[in-house]
Symmetry: C2
Subunit: 409 residues, 2 copies
């Protein structure tokens, strides 16, 4: 029982991915803010994997610390943890390494494979010493008896320590946060997903990509090229979050290629606004209607005093929208603090030459053009127009703005 | 019935302040974010006033637009709105002017007294024309038959249009947002408050002050001097938010003097942190214990992936704390976006020479000193020390930090 009288019910599922590989997955529907900022009502899973060939038993990653004991119990359902021969830490972020200290102890301090940065972080953060340690480099090999695991460094996806692991005998690629995703779906893999479920999955994947990997898009492109050059023949992706991908390997790779190279969806528009008196809201809704009539897929996010803005979702839709409309409230002679945060995040995570307009209604005086337009232009958006007015924003002006955005080359 | 199946129950109360003056108060427990950013689980009231001498009927301010119809109904319980002779708009912010257009119409477009900026905002935002309008200046007088109302401009408390109104015959000062406060208390005035209730009220008042007025503290001092020079002999303060103040006029004025002039509480410490692995949290809690042992009143705010940081409350406690400890998480090689927002707000609203320390635990590399310490120092905090470490923060270092802060002149 927790303090609030609720019972905590983590769901751990163990399933077979291939003959020699188990997945141990935690379904986390408790975390409200991933990374302390991204709202995830859809939840998130943490996936660890156990390669057990009978001869060798290798654990790949663990889970968040609060699920450590349940994770250990699930592991015990498969084997005696002391039989684990080695642990591969593909990435030292706490959602995958938090349970490490407990599992490491329970397993009798086996050999650990990790990037030197991951070693240093784990030792200093968790106060453990990795007694038998091998620094992972490109093509580091772990013998698993009837085969081998081969590793590759994929730096900055999304930490400097990130590695992925290939299991050629089973055609399996373990990717940790790469191809990661939010959401807790009832499925284990993508084989049984309907097309609408897949659309939702892709949406969660794009949101995760924008939030977590967005700042490192150049590295996505570089690492995909590196992966292709390896010619690893894999038919299953086993990520650290979400479903095992069996059917849509091509789609997943293509999505990463598109988002990494800043490709935009030419028929998609995202509108983000906040309103004080309602003037900006009225203009934003009007713009949404006009864009929808013209055949755009329109996503609209509004915030006010009853609901905040879901920053994670906003970024997920902004990253591939050709058209962006930003409704900017004025506050204390500046732009609203939350809008400042939003503009910072747009710049850092998703700027990709989106054709962008700014609409702003002010009481004392205009500030949106000076502050927001300049900043967005500098960081990689293409500002196509700004409407600023005291009070209502004329529909005519919004019409012209939309025409300009659609016509922009 | 609302969409979510809940019934909206605004509470409007009408009460007599003096023989000729009614208060019409809305208790808003629905707004989650005041100004779209400050969390207010304690709610907020909107207070309008009606001066009715039998001869003249003057309405001072209205309420938020969503309560306009209920407000009109309450008004109808006192008089026929068409008998209203004039409306004074002390401040055009929507929480006091939102219901204006409906009331203005229902009252048959009476004369309006307001600052020229308020006139311009109301006309452009609400699309109404003030047909009979008088621009308020210092000492503008409104005749109420058996007496008069006298007005004074108090610019930048907290908008350029803000005015206050004195009713000498009743010893009443109407102050709109000045001396405003969050919270919905069951009382109508402060006469029956216990000392612990008053302490809570003062806390809500300080939070409101920091959030709403903090950026204009120099104007608080100027306007208080202006008010004193007027020698208005008032015995009741009738604010736009909160309780009517009858008993503690001196305390309220003194609080504004203290906060406006950046006076700090020498025995108060506020600790604000966010944590990824727990290292910063451990050090923050340790610092809190040490400071409490030394006799400090300690306030501590922590955020993680299950709860955000209540920015409004943080500012309310930081504004008069002599000691401030900031636990800074590192994110994407920068400080966490929410911490960036927090540092911006601390600088803009509450910087007052607080003796400040920064504690930061990093994985890849240190950034807190370079980014946060510099910014805080520049904007008016006195940075007494920075601890940065990979992993755990040594208790010895925290001890030294606290000694330095306490010893700082």
């Amino acid at each position: 029982m927790l303090d609030n009288g609720c019972v905590r019910m983590p769901r751990i599922r163990v399933s077979k991915v291939t003959g020699n590989v188990y997945q141990i997955r935690v379904d986390d529907v408790e975390t409200r803010f991933f990374e302390g900022i991204w709202e995830i009502p859809e939840g998130v899973t943490y996936n660890a994997y156990l390669v057990d060939t009978g001869e060798k038993r290798i654990l790949i990653d663990t889970v968040k610390s609060r699920y450590a004991l349940e994770f250990l119990e699930a592991l015990r359902g498969i084997l005696d943890p002391r039989d684990i021969d080695a642990i591969i830490v593909q990435h030292s972020e706490p959602d995958h390494s938090g349970a490490f200290p407990i599992i490491y102890e329970a397993a009798g301090k086996p050999k650990v494979y990790a990037h030197p940065i991951a070693k240093s972080i784990i030792e200093s953060e968790y106060g453990v010493r990795l007694e038998k340690y091998e620094a992972v480099r490109d093509d580091t090999v772990v013998d698993v008896g009837d085969g081998k695991l081969v590793m590759a460094l994929v730096p900055w996806l999304h930490w400097p320590d990130t590695i992925i692991t290939f299991y050629p005998e089973e055609g399996l690629l373990f990717t940790c946060d790469v191809f990661g995703v939010y959401g807790v779906l009832p499925h284990i893999d993508d084989a049984g997903l309907s097309s609408s479920e897949w659309a939702l999955y892709e949406r969660y994947m794009r949101k995760y990509f924008a939030n977590i990997v967005g700042a490192y898009r150049d590295w996505v492109v570089k690492n995909l090229e590196k992966l292709e050059a390896k010619n690893w023949n894999f038919s299953i992706i086993a990520p650290g979050h979400g479903l095992v991908i069996r059917k849509r390997i091509g789609e997943v790779l293509e999505a990463y290629r598109a988002w990494g190279s800043r490709r935009l969806n030419p028929r998609k528009a995202t509108i983000i606004y906040s309103t004080m008196y309602g003037a900006v809201e009225k203009a934003a809704l009007y713009a949404a209607e006009r864009l929808a009539e013209t055949g755009f897929e329109v996503h609209i996010y509004g915030s006010n005093d009853e609901k905040g803005i879901a920053l994670g979702d906003v970024l997920g839709d902004a990253i591939d929208s050709r058209i962006l409309v930003l409704g900017v409230p004025v506050y204390d002679g500046n732009i609203h603090p939350i809008t400042r945060l939003l503009v910072d995040l747009l710049c850092e995570k998703v700027a990709a030459g989106q054709v962008t307009s700014i609409i702003s209604s002010y009481g004392w005086g205009p500030v949106a053009k000076r502050i927001v337009a300049e900043k967005l232009e500098k960081c990689g958006f293409r500002v196509a127009g700004v409407i600023e007015a005291r009070g209502a924003l004329p529909a005519n002006d919004v019409d012209k703005l939309i025409e300009n955005m659609i016509a922009a080359k």
